[in-house]
């Protein structure tokens, strides 16, 4: 299933096109819907417990899904229009003629959370100012305190010009800067809160005040009566349960105990079919997401260091079959950028890289894979590798499928199934031969995809691959003045990735959301999984 995300936010172009020479760009258009009713607690869930509350440091979006409602960003994605970005804490912004200086004017009178619940939290009840923004973005830029540091590598200087004005100076133009300031990770917190306290403290300006988190049970947030958007939020609060078992979550949805079945997970075609048959009133969406599964080894260790092995793996995997079997017919296959986007290589070129569903071609590719392995010195059965993977049922699907595919070319895979804690520890310490790279992006922008996963030193670059030529192209596309200029550069990067194969892409995953008919002002338009979790305009018609 594909979705059309070709229309990049128009303001990005405006920001990057020199000719516009925007001196004081008008505020981005707001789009909002009124609360039909006030009150009620929305119930939803996430599949895992939180490690801590610092969403910058967690690779999993589940942290963001829980704490996201307590924060605002400078900009945010529209709740109703796919890809559109609107102002949040920023009242307006301007870009210098050369596209290197962004001046952002903040809203006045925005308060960090107040009241009994927030009392004692550093920064509680203070007014938002430019220093808070600088403090927050500086944390995201700092590799020691953030896994998202790659987002803001172009920033050379960040300063508070006055109480409500922030100036961002770039070393090179960054066409994706506003998108990156709008993703869920870019929440603003008070400068009184030390960076390392974000792990145990949740305080922002968002529509919901953090109440509590109980391990195994979930989180509770309550309405922020001082929210800067008058008349919002509509809800009294949000209750986010922990349902590790997707069938339990689905059963709760069917029993009307859940209003929204998670922000990202657990609705797959079989579930959608079941819901359509038995609960036709429940709304379901099932697009291919900005989420993909790939395999990575460490490029400085055998056998992954041998390009022929990586090529053999890529040739051996019948990705069309992966969509049929694992995706139950849904999802997409492609390269390192979503195949439904303009950033992806053209279809015919892509088919050369990942093959077609033609059985003859599938077998020919396998034959070639066997030859490559033989050439690399690996006789059938001699290459045995451990594959580190998470223990959730969904996480096990891709490794089991690939294990079977690789067996057909004589590679034996031993799955090393681990819980989240062990998995994270082993991944971060490089204690693996192969690993599932289950990655997601919040925005359909090459700079975000590559920044997180593929440039030298990227926080989630599990393979350790580092290619200065690739990084040079990355910088080039960042400073391009228009998407038309960026596309050929990104295609060149995609070709380089297919040639080098630091990670072998398997599939782009279609994953659904389901929500009750009484959940109003909610649409599944989030390009990521964690940008629209504030739920400030959502209300319950029951």
């Amino acid at each position: 299933m594909k979705q059309n995300q070709r229309d990049r936010p128009k303001h990005l172009l405006a920001a990057s096109v020199l000719a516009l020479a925007v001196a004081a760009a008008p505020a981005l258009a707001e789009d909002q819907r009124a609360c039909g009713k006030y009150g009620g607690v929305l119930t939803t869930h996430a599949g895992e417990d939180l490690v801590n509350f610092d969403f910058h440091q967690q690779p999993t979006v589940r942290t963001q899904q829980r704490v996201g409602g307590s924060y605002n960003r400078l900009f945010r994605f529209s709740f109703y229009e796919k890809g559109k970005i609107v102002n949040d804490l920023a009242e307006s912004y301007s870009v210098s003629d050369d596209g290197l200086v962004y001046t952002i004017k903040l809203r006045d009178g925005v308060k960090f959370h107040c009241g009994d619940l927030a009392e004692g939290r550093p920064g509680a009840c203070t007014d938002l100012d430019a220093a808070d923004v600088v403090w927050s973005i500086d944390k995201i830029r700092n590799k020691n305190f953030s896994r998202r540091a790659g987002y803001f590598t172009a920033i050379s200087e960040l300063e508070a010009v006055d109480r409500l004005t922030v100036r961002i100076t770039l070393s090179q133009a960054d066409a994706g800067l506003i998108s990156k300031l709008a993703v869920g990770w870019a929440g603003i917190f008070p400068s009184e809160l030390p960076w390392d306290r974000l792990k145990d403290t949740v305080i922002g300006t968002g529509p919901f005040i953090w109440k509590e988190y109980v391990t195994g049970a979930g989180s509770t947030t309550v309405r922020n009566p001082d929210y800067y958007r008058e008349g919002y939020p509509c809800l009294d609060g949000v209750r986010n349960f922990v349902f590790k078992d997707p069938t339990v979550a689905l059963a709760n949805l069917r029993a009307e105990k859940l209003d929204i079945n998670s922000f990202m997970q657990y609705i797959y075609p079989a579930d959608a079919k079941l819901l359509a048959e038995k609960h036709p009133d429940i709304k379901v969406s099932l697009p291919a997401r900005l989420w993909w599964h790939s395999i990575a080894g460490k490029v400085d260790e055998a056998p992954w260091s041998d390009k022929r092995v990586r090529q053999a793996f890529s040739l051996a995997i019948d990705r069309h079959k992966a969509i049929e079997v694992l995706g139950e017919g849904a999802g997409a296959i492609g390269g390192y950028m979503p195949p439904w986007s303009k950033w992806s290589l053209p279809a015919d070129e892509l088919a050369e890289q990942i093959g077609t569903a033609d059985p003859a071609m599938v077998e020919a590719r396998r034959e070639k894979a066997r030859a490559l392995l033989a050439d690399a010195g690996y006789a059938p059965g001699s290459l045995q590798l451990g594959w580190l993977t998470l223990d959730t049922p969904e996480s096990l699907l891709t490794p089991q499928f690939v294990q079977e595919q690789l067996r057909l070319i004589g590679v034996e895979i031993n799955l090393e199934v681990s819980d989240r804690g062990t998995f994270t520890q082993r991944r971060d310490s490089g204690d693996f031969q192969l690993i599932t790279t289950s990655n997601a992006a919040g925005v359909l922008d090459p700079s975000i995809f590559y920044a997180d996963y593929l440039i030298c030193g990227a926080s989630s670059n599990e393979s350790g691959w580092c290619n200065p030529e690739f990084d040079a192209l990355y910088a080039r596309q960042l400073s391009a003045r228009s998407d038309e200029e960026r596309v050929p550069v990104v295609h060149e990067m995609e070709r380089m990735l297919f040639d080098e194969l630091p990670q072998v892409q398997v599939r782009w995953i279609a994953e659904g959301m389901a929500w009750q008919p009484w959940v109003m002002n909610w649409e599944d338009v989030d390009p990521g999984y964690y940008n629209n979790v504030t739920l400030e305009e959502v209300w319950l018609d029951k």
Partner: protein, 302 residues
């Protein structure tokens, strides 16, 4: 004769034993028909486990037709249907018997063996040693068995050998307690005292005179534990703590996708569920019959 085997123990040649086996079997079937059914189930399951490579129509890990044969309901081609990855469930159930039988047997042997040894030595020694060991057994017994097994697996990691250890440890206290009660009685018997008076070493007394008299309760507790061990293995696998996928395991095959597809493809959880139920039922029936035969208080009862 001091130090010799008690008078009631008789020695028979293998030929003689075989000759007696037929009539004994008939007597067993007649007196304990349910136990015989249980025994038959146990034998069948062992045979299935041993001959799995010849009985299973497919490899248990094979994605039939690359996975395209997914979610087929039971049919002549796939008597138990296929799962969401296009694997033949019958083949997985057949191969799953290997794991269940292996883990069930080894963990029971390990746990009951260790429990019996502990009971033999501590009870024979008596006094403070017995007191300490029994309190340790009480502590071990005070925890729910599954919790202990989960903790052990969490510490040791997931593998077949660790499953054996985890499940085996759970069985230790119950075995120790049963064997202890027998040892307490036996160690006070005249022939044990006579052996002691004749200068037999403690080890000789334990293994020559005490242990043989504990065989009957040991067999009872071992057969009774087998079904429980299989259930524990299935439970651990169901919780994702058993052998890692794609190895076939009845418990694991009940977990994850089987739950997700339970309404659309009910054969996915039902088939391994039946395998677990039938096997445990068989072991329990057989264990009950053995207990009835070997326990003097129950001998002759139905």
């Amino acid at each position: 004769m001091p130090g010799s085997t008690p008078a009631y123990a008789t020695h028979r040649s293998w030929g003689e034993r075989l000759r007696l086996f037929g009539p004994a079997l008939v007597r067993f079937v007649r007196s304990k028909p349910l136990g015989a059914v249980g025994g038959l189930i146990v034998i069948v399951m062992f045979l299935v486990a041993v001959f799995a490579p010849w009985l299973a129509p497919y490899s248990p890990e094979e994605f039939i037709d690359g996975g395209s044969a997914r979610l087929h309901p039971p049919s002549w081609d796939y008597p138990m249907g296929t799962d969401n990855l296009g694997r033949d469930i019958l083949s997985r159930v057949i191969y799953g018997a290997q794991l269940s039988m292996l883990v069930g047997l080894l963990s029971t042997l390990f746990g009951t063996g260790l429990g019996a040894l502990v009971a033999l030595f501590s009870t024979y020694a008596g006094g403070r040693w017995d007191l300490i060991v029994q309190r340790l057994m009480d502590i071990l017994w005070s925890f729910p068995s599954l919790i202990i097994a989960v903790v052990i697996i969490a510490v040791l990691g997931r593998s077949t050998s660790n499953l054996v250890v985890a499940i085996g440890i759970v069985v230790i206290p119950s075995t120790a307690r049963v064997v202890r009660s027998t040892v307490l009685a036996v160690k006070e018997t005249e022939y044990v005292q006579a052996a002691r008076a004749a200068g037999a070493s403690h080890l000789r007394i334990i293994f020559r005179h005490v242990a043989p008299n504990c065989v009957a309760p040991y067999i009872v507790i071992a057969t009774a534990s087998l079904g429980g061990a299989i259930i524990t293995e299935a439970s651990l696998s169901f919780l994702g703590l058993g052998v890692p996928p794609p190895a076939p395991s009845w418990g694991r095959d009940l977990f994850g996708s089987a739950q997700k597809f339970a309404e659309l493809a009910p054969w996915m959880p039902i088939m391994p569920g039946i395998a677990i139920s039938v096997t445990v039922y068989g072991f329990n029936l057989f264990g009950d019959a053995i207990r009835d035969l070997l326990d003097p208080r129950l001998r002759g009862s139905r």
